[in-house]
Amino acid sequence: MPTEGSPVAWVDTQAERRADPARRFDDLFRRLYPRLHDLCHRLVDATEAEDVVQEAFLKLVDAAVLDRPDPEVEAWLRRVCVNLAYNRLRGRRRGQERLQRLGRLQPDADAGDRDDPLGSLLRLEQRAAVRRALWTLPERQRTCLLLRHAGYSYAEIAATCELAIGSVGVLLARAERTFRDSYRQQQGADHEVP
């Protein structure tokens, strides 16, 4: 039986191939949501990370890929999540500039920890520096680096970025070198005495 409340509770004409698509969707959601949330959280803020993962699953509901084996669905979800997050980052940059012009929004949208304002501020600044450094990387390198350090295997990274598996190490090595240089530059700039 479909899980209660599932969005794919329809009578599936392909039921013979995929015995219970509703349960499969729910299982995929429960199994993959935490890791996808972790991945998206590295790109956007906490609230947007939730939105991005949920939007990706919403796209999955009527996507043809839902009929494919799990590894293909997982790669598809990762790819959609990363693309949605990048789109939001680009949109947010434009939106923040517009809103700041209107005087309606202050630049930093991340909520801090009121119990530890200094620690919160330092973490915010540290995250901002890391994101600035990441943004200097070419998009595919950046995605490789983020996926790897979010714990994905080379096979999963290759499937997500639609690369040959042999290219993952090459891209990762380049990405980490560029990141190192850019990150150190950021830190150096942060610690310069005026």
Binding site: W10, V11, R30, A111, A133
Partner: protein, 404 residues
């Protein structure tokens, strides 16, 4: 063996290459060993640095379920997708209003009273419907927010008195469904549909009408550019009564395939009485006259049962009914301190929230996902306070804290 390419070395460091042969070569090759060391240092730096971007904790099982529920709700509203579902899973389209106040008003009784409305304009018919639905929703939520497993002596008169809040995520479309369900089970008297705030001249003039002195925020805490003299209005106290009707319940159960079931005799004629307190609203407008910040204050909300039944018995009956949104019912069951926790229905697709200490009391901070609107609600010393506006959470908190 030849020297390894950079990509091969990087893969070897991650255990993704032919380990034995590569390892033997790197151990004996100074150039590859040095290159591997540099790559390892870069990888470790990237791991440490990007580690700060990871969430502080993984989502809990409850959060994952709530997220799944939001996707379910959104899927059902998506044209094309919804068409693929059985008719019963696709809720009818509802009138939509935009904005934080509207979103809150759709889901929350007190927020409906606190939602700013342009002066001199009667609410539209759709807004009236929403207000009526919200009133009924508040009633049913108070009803079903009672816990399992608490035995009650037959002489015990169950009471509810709001002290704190708990969020119940709700598909906005379900609010109307719940209200309709209530009408199918009994008789609803009273409501918030005709709740027109009365304008008064000053906060001091509002005090005798609401029965308590009105707290004012520090002018310094108000957002820049707003008029520091608020428009003051008052909504009067009112009572909502919901009485179960045995014949209606029987028809409802039959319609949901439970022909053999009936209303337990002790619940026949039982009436839930919810006392919605008077509230004062302070609306601070910007230069364009549009409210940027609304501050509401009221006494606590109370509820009791008249007749031979208890809240526990009403709850047990209602939670067993078919046709209620299972996700909302699950969340209501999870509320432990039911006698003093007011469930706050929140549209799952638009609003984020977190618990916070506000003005020295536990409360909820809510934010519209666009980032433009925020709200806070808390209760202290027998009063419910709410602040909402086109503001960031920090600004809302600043206003809230200045009330102390």
């Amino acid at each position: 063996m030849r020297c390894l390419e950079e990509g091969e070395l990087r893969a070897w460091l991650d255990g993704e290459a032919g380990q034995a042969a590569a390892g033997a070569h790197v151990d004996g090759c100074a150039a590859c060993s040095a290159a591997a060391g540099a790559l390892r240092a870069n990888a470790e730096l990237a791991a440490t640095a990007t580690g700060v971007l990871a969430p502080a904790r993984p989502p809990t099982a409850e959060e994952v379920e709530a997220a799944r529920g939001r996707v379910v709700a959104a899927a059902r509203r998506t044209p094309g997708v919804a068409a693929a579902y059985p008719p019963t899973t696709a809720p009818p389209a509802r009138p939509q209003r935009r904005g934080l106040a509207a979103a809150l008003a759709r889901g929350r009784g007190l927020a409906a009273a606190w939602a700013p409305r342009p002066a001199g304009r009667a609410p539209a018919a759709s807004a009236r419907r929403w207000l009526a639905a919200t009133a009924a929703l508040a009633l049913v939520l108070v009803l079903v927010a009672t816990p399992t497993g608490r035995g009650a002596a037959s002489s015990f008169l169950a009471q509810f008195r709001s002290q704190r809040f708990a969020v119940v995520t709700l598909d906005p479309a379900q609010a109307g469904d719940l209200a309709a369900t209530l009408q199918q089970l009994g008789t609803v008297e009273g409501g918030l549909g005709d709740l027109e705030p009365e304008q008064v001249a000053t906060p001091a003039a509002a005090a005798p009408l609401v029965g308590f002195p009105v707290a004012l925020p520090d002018a310094a805490a108000l957002p820049a550019g707003v008029d520091t003299r608020p428009r003051v209005s008052v909504t009067r106290a009112r009572q909502l009564r919901f009485t179960l009707d045995a014949a209606k319940v029987r028809r409802y159960l039959q319609a949901h395939g439970r022909s053999g079931a009936a209303l337990p005799p002790r619940l026949a004629g039982a009436t839930l009485v919810a006392n919605v307190p008077a509230a004062v609203l302070l609306a601070y407008a910007g230069a364009d006259g549009v409210p940027r910040l609304v501050l509401g204050q009221s006494r606590e909300l109370t509820a009791s049962v008249e007749g031979g039944a208890t809240l526990e018995q009403l709850r047990g009956f209602l939670l067993g009914l078919p046709g209620l949104p299972p996700q909302a019912v699950r969340q209501l069951k999870a509320i432990g301190d039911w006698r003093d926790t007011l469930p706050l229905p929140v549209p799952a697709d638009r609003i984020d929230w977190r618990e916070a200490t506000i003005d020295g009391a536990r409360g909820l901070l809510l934010g519209e996902r666009s980032g433009l609107g925020s709200a806070a609600i808390w209760q202290r010393d027998g009063r419910i306070y709410g602040v909402a506006g086109v503001l960031r959470q920090a600004q809302v908190l600043r206003v809230a804290e200045s009330l102390g």
